[in-house]
Symmetry: C2
């Protein structure tokens, strides 16, 4: 008799953003007149840049003519895109990454959740707390996390690394037995915190010393505005020996609805003597069929001179929103962080409210949707995330409402 | 210390089509003058239909304007597409499938390989032999197949169901203990065989009796030309209680480079008392981020009146190729099957050559690429697959060359 994967049953409730969506839908059905502003899910609102739209139209035309039609994409992505990525995202920053080490995909969420598959189910994972839920949930599904302790809001076998105001929302090196797989995301989702280069170098050294692999999510690197903050983990010495990196076009160029990302696996990276590049290549070849040609052409357009300029403006637009939120909340007396090198603002809830209490209060009083910090892990309790991805008008209105009504 | 997933190391060699690609590249480098015709990988060659191109351009324009821009898609796909699928692919054929039971994805390959995740790793799988390699390989990666027996060309714990000339290339019900998960693909890849409705009904009854789940790959249903052959397993009575179905736009509408497919999971389908719909929904929400909006709009265009007419012509074009291959090989004395309700022609190699011997011979003598039957499983040895997805000109030339040079 067929049996379900029991591990799925260990997941408590819904995926965080599905739960939020459900709550907002219910509120709007009960209050159809409410003008709800969404600064919850990290979804962009600006249209695709003209250079990208032009590339898409051109590629669509190619798909409509026999001479230029494209069927299955190459397993690991088109060379035209992988070469641009290697040159602009890595070699320009002194990172020794070649096009062959770049795997094109339909987004960092898929890659971040699938990557655990190429590792032993006996490996121990370490995550920041709070953390993007996908890292943990994908490992729950794979059976790598042990049982969920409802009281603690944590899985028994996961190493949680608290990121608190005390450590500047960047984790300390684990004490005791080293975990095998270490998920790091900087600039961080949800806290908006960053890790300076010397601190990230400590993590690389730690991983190399202990044979751990760092799974480095750099989906928000385009938002870095300050110096001395690495855009890629490969800026650190020795990272080729211990790190896999994930990137996304979603936040960089507004591709949340277009779907494009990539993973970097250095050709010589090993886990206990087994090269990981061929394993991920095998997974791509067996369980994936490539990102659409037209979308890969859109990705290529991000690297043209016009594309880069247009994207830069778009990021500046969102980062101006981040400033508006940060300064507005700060002047209203909230304890805030993030928002300078990341599109996320992390605030402490007032009056010791729980994160979900603040969510409900914010939705009903100010008609503003944010994301409860506790949804990202136990250390996120009493925190709350707002995103800079709204329109400027809505962002200004949301902050006014928070100042007036909360 | 991080360790790799050992299961991956049980996979012998490369994914079949990567190996073929490599061999063809090597041949072309050695013989740059050779005009190689590819009838190997099942990739389409006709450009996208005008109706689809129009829908893509329109959707691209929407992505370029703030008022119509689309970010993240709904977890399970846009309603506009799910409703069309439910109406045209299911309800029109008397199948009781609702839009909510349809999960939009970036293709049947991904869905077919990911579906095993929601089942226990202890479940036994049964596959046709020969078989599309993705079903088996994805289960190898998950640790469900036991060791590979090189001599037998088979995994120890997999139930192989031989599909031979004797049984019309459609498997018999297993003897002895029932397997838990049964992969069926009809019209079949690679053999091009079909299963009539009464025979598929026997499988549905068998699965319901034994608590097995049928994973039904109907990616080629649009190629069915004869009566009494089910397009969907849900045409069989009781299938909602035991079957998951996969569909693809790749072969139906030329989307191999555009990426769109879907999976149907009836809301009430259970495995040992656990509903599967919520598990797959959770997987979608956690490990996937939706097919691109523009591609979902392209999928919608497949169902307009013009779209349907254009697609029908395209399928007729390929099926004319199938006829050319089938009749050409038959009159040249080959033993052939398939090609009537499927875009695949399955031929017995002459002179008892192995499948790979015939591959090499065909490539070097006729400069035609096909797919070795043994790549699909032990019972595929001494067989060979040709596809109808080439251009008509190339198909005619390929058959002429086979007749003259082989």
């Amino acid at each position: 008799m067929a049996k379900a994967n029991d591990n799925y049953l260990r997941l408590p409730g819904n995926y965080l953003f599905s739960t939020i969506g459900q709550k907002v839908r219910e509120y709007q059905e009960a209050h159809p007149e409410a003008d709800v502003i969404r600064l919850g899910i990290g979804d962009v609102t600006q249209p695709l840049a003209p250079e990208i739209i032009g590339a898409l139209h051109k590629a669509v035309d190619e798909m409509g003519a026999a001479e230029t039609f494209k069927g299955y994409a190459p397993d690991l992505g088109y060379a035209f895109l992988r070469e641009k990525i290697a040159a602009f995202d890595y070699q320009s920053r002194g990172c020794d990454i070649s096009p062959e080490e770049i795997f094109i995909s339909d987004g960092a969420k898929c890659d971040c959740s699938n990557i655990q598959e190429i590792f032993s189910v006996d490996n121990t994972i370490a995550v920041c707390d709070p953390v993007y839920p996908v890292y943990v949930d994908s490992n729950v599904m794979a059976g790598r996390t042990g049982l969920y302790d409802t009281a603690a809001g944590a899985y028994k076998d996961v190493v949680y690394m608290p990121c608190t105001a005390q450590n500047g929302f960047a984790p300390e090196l684990p004490q005791g037995k080293a975990p095998d797989l270490i998920y790091l995301c900087f600039p961080n989702n949800p806290t908006g915190a960053v890790m300076k280069k010397d601190r990230l170098q400590e993590w690389v050294d730690y991983a190399n010393k202990n044979g751990a692999i760092i799974l480095y999510d750099a989906a928000y690197e385009a938002y870095i505005s300050e110096e001395d903050i690495p855009h890629s983990i490969y800026e650190c010495e020795g990272a080729r020996g211990c790190a896999i990196e994930f990137r996304s076009f979603s936040k960089t160029a507004g591709f949340t609805g277009l779907r494009l990302g990539f993973t970097v696996i250095p050709a010589d990276l090993e886990a206990d003597g087994v090269r990981l590049w061929p394993l991920w290549a095998r997974r791509h070849g067996t369980k994936y069929n490539g990102a659409p040609y037209i979308v890969q052409r859109a990705g290529e357009a991000v690297y043209t001179e016009e594309g880069r300029a247009q994207i830069k403006n778009q990021i500046a637009y969102y980062m101006d929103n981040a400033r508006i939120i940060y300064e507005g909340l700060q002047s209203a007396g909230y304890e805030v962080s993030g928002g300078v090198n990341a599109p996320y603002i992390w605030l402490r809830t007032p009056d010791n409210m729980t994160s979900w209490e603040f969510f409900d209060s914010l939705l009903s009083k100010a008609n503003v949707v944010g994301t409860p910090g506790s949804g990202f892990g136990p250390a996120g309790e009493h925190y709350f995330r707002l995103t800079a991805f709204g329109t400027k008008e809505n962002t200004i209105r949301a902050i006014e409402r928070i100042r007036e009504r909360m």
